[in-house]
């Protein structure tokens, strides 16, 4: 049953929200070994489900998400709940307010089941940099589930939730969606309010949906999108108030060789096969070129490091984290606090970000990065004038073993080579499973123009239908 069909069934009273919640809670119990959740709100979820059922029975109007179970990445603030960011420094931080997306989910009667595991402060592509232990891939628990929105992808893949939210700064939704075999979507920068999303790279961050099907992703995105006075970067266009897929026939699909160069041969082959199926469905293939996509990784990481180091200034040991030892000299107390409260990868990023924004180096590094970013953005815009969507692999490789790539950060960073461009350009990009290799899912990524989510959804839906998923 598709997510939207499930929602309709609950709305009509054919199925109960309670039964749906119970089923999801059972799955949470069963899949504990995957370490997908940091906190589970089982009792509250059940209570809310019963309340929705009672309202359905009385014939009252219910919201778009009524009875659907939603998991949230633990960098999204829920009033009265911990927002840990999977970090020791926020281990006991209880959010005093709701993120805008949380307000919207509650308003549409979605049932929030818990906060999901992630790479600390969203820094990682594997789900292994969590202070709460690594999340695991449901297809093989020895493998990484992808990151940083690891738990959200795992929860949807294993039926612990109908829907989930993640955040995507350089691929953090699309990477785990691809590795876990679910649909993941990063909207246009500004389509969804970031108010209540704990900062990583503020000019790149977007909240987006996970679902087991494209319809579910569209439904959740319809719920959360829109302009918000609490995020000045939001802008709403009519198409972003209701998302829908159109016909694939006659669509122009762009292919850029730069996105296949560093990709694993087997994956490239599978993506090629899926593209043929889109052609069979009536799509027209167009060759496009985005030469600067080769520099997506340095552009992305340098931009993000700079913004991240700024965002992390507030965790100075005075406000958040473990009690500071006041008997120590201030500078020592603060460094001790940060040494214990923050993970190794976080410290690496803060240090590099601090370095490249220092007066002495800013021109050579940060200013130059911004220029390169503008160039890549323009190239995407030009390419997207020639086509309706650009199709690429989502990940250049298959999920690796937990523990691998941890010693070489650059190797880990390369995992974002195909996803980071969409964040740099601020355009929408989603992934859907299009094939399997040795029982592991392979995701196809679809990019579209700014504020043109529906074209991306159209192609993703065609992928979903034509590849037999």
């Amino acid at each position: 049953m598709k997510t939207t069909e499930l929602a309709q069934a609950i709305k009509k009273g054919e199925l109960t929200a309670q039964a749906n919640a119970e089923e999801k809670i059972k799955a949470v119990e069963k899949n504990k070994h995957l370490n997908a959740f940091i906190d589970v709100y089982a009792e509250e979820a059940l209570e809310k489900a019963k309340e929705i059922d009672a309202r359905v029975k009385k014939g009252e109007e219910t919201g778009m998400l009524a009875g659907l179970i939603v998991a949230l990445k633990s960098n999204i603030c829920i009033k009265g709940k911990r927002a840990t960011c999977a970090s020791k420094i926020l281990e006991n931080y209880v959010a005093p307010y709701n993120a805008t997306v949380v307000e919207k989910i509650i308003a549409e009667d979605g049932i929030i089941i818990g906060s999901t595991n992630m790479d600390e402060f969203a820094c990682g592509s594997a789900g292994t940099y969590s202070a709460f232990g690594p999340a695991r891939n449901p297809h093989n628990p020895e493998l990484v589930p992808g990151g940083s929105s690891s738990g959200s992808a795992v929860a949807v893949a294993t039926g612990m939730a109908d829907l989930a939210l993640g955040s995507d700064t350089g691929g953090s939704i699309r990477c785990p969606a691809s590795f876990c075999g679910v649909v993941g979507f990063k909207p246009t920068y500004g389509a969804v309010s970031r108010y209540g999303l704990i900062d990583m790279g503020m000019s790149l961050d977007q909240i987006g949906p996970f679902a087991r099907d494209v319809e579910g992703a569209m439904l959740l995105l319809t719920t959360i999108a829109g302009k918000d006075a609490r995020d000045q970067q939001t802008s709403a266009t009519p198409s972003q108030l209701a998302f829908e897929a159109k016909k694939i026939k006659g669509m122009k699909i762009g292919l850029a060789k730069e996105f296949f160069e560093g990709t694993d041969k087997q994956i490239a082959l599978k993506i090629g096969e899926a593209i043929q199926k889109l052609k069979e469905a009536g799509a027209e293939l167009v060759e496009v070129s985005i030469p600067s996509a080769r520099y997506a990784v340095p552009i992305y990481f340098l931009t993000m490091f700079a913004e991240f180091s700024s965002a992390m200034q507030k965790y100075d040991g005075l406000r958040y984290g473990l009690p500071t030892d006041v008997t120590m000299p201030l500078a020592k107390a603060v460094s001790e606090e940060r040494a214990q409260g923050l993970g190794r990868e976080i410290k690496r990023r803060i240090m590099v970000g601090t370095f490249i924004t220092m007066k002495e180096y800013s021109e050579a590094w940060y200013a130059k990065t911004l220029k390169a970013r503008t160039k890549l953005k323009k190239e995407f815009e030009t390419a997207l004038e020639k086509c309706d969507a650009i199709v690429t692999p989502t990940m250049p490789c298959l999920p690796w073993k937990i523990g691998e790539k941890m010693s070489n950060p650059v190797e880990m960073y390369m995992a974002d080579m195909l996803t980071a461009s969409a964040n740099i350009a601020g355009i929408p990009a989603g992934t859907a499973k299009c094939a399997e290799i040795n029982g592991l899912p392979v995701g196809m990524q679809v990019h579209a123009k700014k504020n043109d989510e529906n074209n991306a959804f159209t192609v993703l839906q065609a992928v979903q239908e034509r590849t037999g998923k």
Partner: protein, 460 residues
Amino acid sequence: MEGKDLEVMIGLEIHVQLASQSKIFCECQANYRESEPNSNVCPICTGQPGSKPMGLNKTALENLLKIASALNAKIKTSEKIYVQRKHYFYPDLPSGYQRTSKPIATEGRIGKVRIREVHIEEDPGRYELKKGLVDYNRSGVPLAEIVTEPDLKTPEEARAFLEELEAILGYLNAVREEAGGTRIDANISLKGGNRVEVKNINSFKGVYTALKYETVRQHSLLEKGGKITQETRHYDEAGGITIGMRKKETAEDYRYIPDPDIPPLEIKQEQVEKVKKQIPELPREKTARVSKEYEIKEEDAWVLASEKELVDLFENLANEFDAQPLANWMRGPLKKQLNYRNMQFKDSKLTTEHVEELYGMITKKEATDKTADTLLIKMLENPQQKPRALANKLGLVRIDNEKAIERIVEETLAENLKAIEDYKKGEQKALHYLAGKIMAKTRGTAAPEIVQKLLKEKMA
């Protein structure tokens, strides 16, 4: 210690709180003073993880544009103005950075003092060092920072400049009225020394004291053959002195980046034109016009023009009374009572009508200078009271009746035979002494010219 000899260069960075209903990036009240500590706050102005700034407060920006316009500065309309993050660690800074815009206007001028730039920023919270307490109620109150070129040559010039600036700000109604929101950093260098920055001066008066102290300190140090190193000093208000904080061997690095959460500001030419139309006649022009139009001394006009409400009062009354004596009275007895209470005319709540009546009593000789003063003091205590009614109530009506005065004069002379002898020996002081006695007996109500006349007659 003439400025010329020392070749002093002084530049000022003045922070004033812009008038607005809410804080700069959130919906909390900008009037933080009436709240319990840490109650006038929200996730945004306390920098809670995940919070983002809302749109920059429009009223605050409009008030900043008014200030820039009044300072004859060029407002940037043809470019995007980024709000930047200025990073530093301090307990009252909730996010570890302060949001501060790039210059919004440049190349302004007050008289011969050039204004380098004006920009907008957020106020941090308050930190009580000794108690280790932080209060975020103030966090996010909009500030304008006005930066001058180092064109001031003496502490006196700096004081005069700040007085004029204060007057201009008062005319514009663009800043918060409550005291204590203003903070000034002063840069001062003497020939042969390096630039010294004095931080955290909390009043315009403090600037003068701090600069006076610094010129003397630096001058005597240089005279002794010492060196002035580049440093930041803290102004100690209680002691009226400056204290070295840290040596500035390397420039501080705030790692400025454009705030990714805030789209750059763009100011439209129409907005600038609209603001320009709202700028009233400013103190300098007001002084020139009023002095010419009413034929009063320019220095008197300047004192009156230091406050818009005061000069308005003058203009209202000058149609009815002789202008120069009126100016003298306003600048003298009236201003003296206001200054004594540390208030401006508008704070006194005195109405034009009541002042008109009081001054009318003086000119019509219904009140003596002495009783007018007494009446003014009573009126300041309770601005509802009408002066004439008050005079009746207090028995402060001027005595013009020569017979009545004569009786008191005779009585007084009988009690002060020694003074009569002194007067006859040619001591004028004795006359004043006797007049004083009579005024005391009549609580200042006796017409002074009649008292004088009668005393002289009786002792002749």
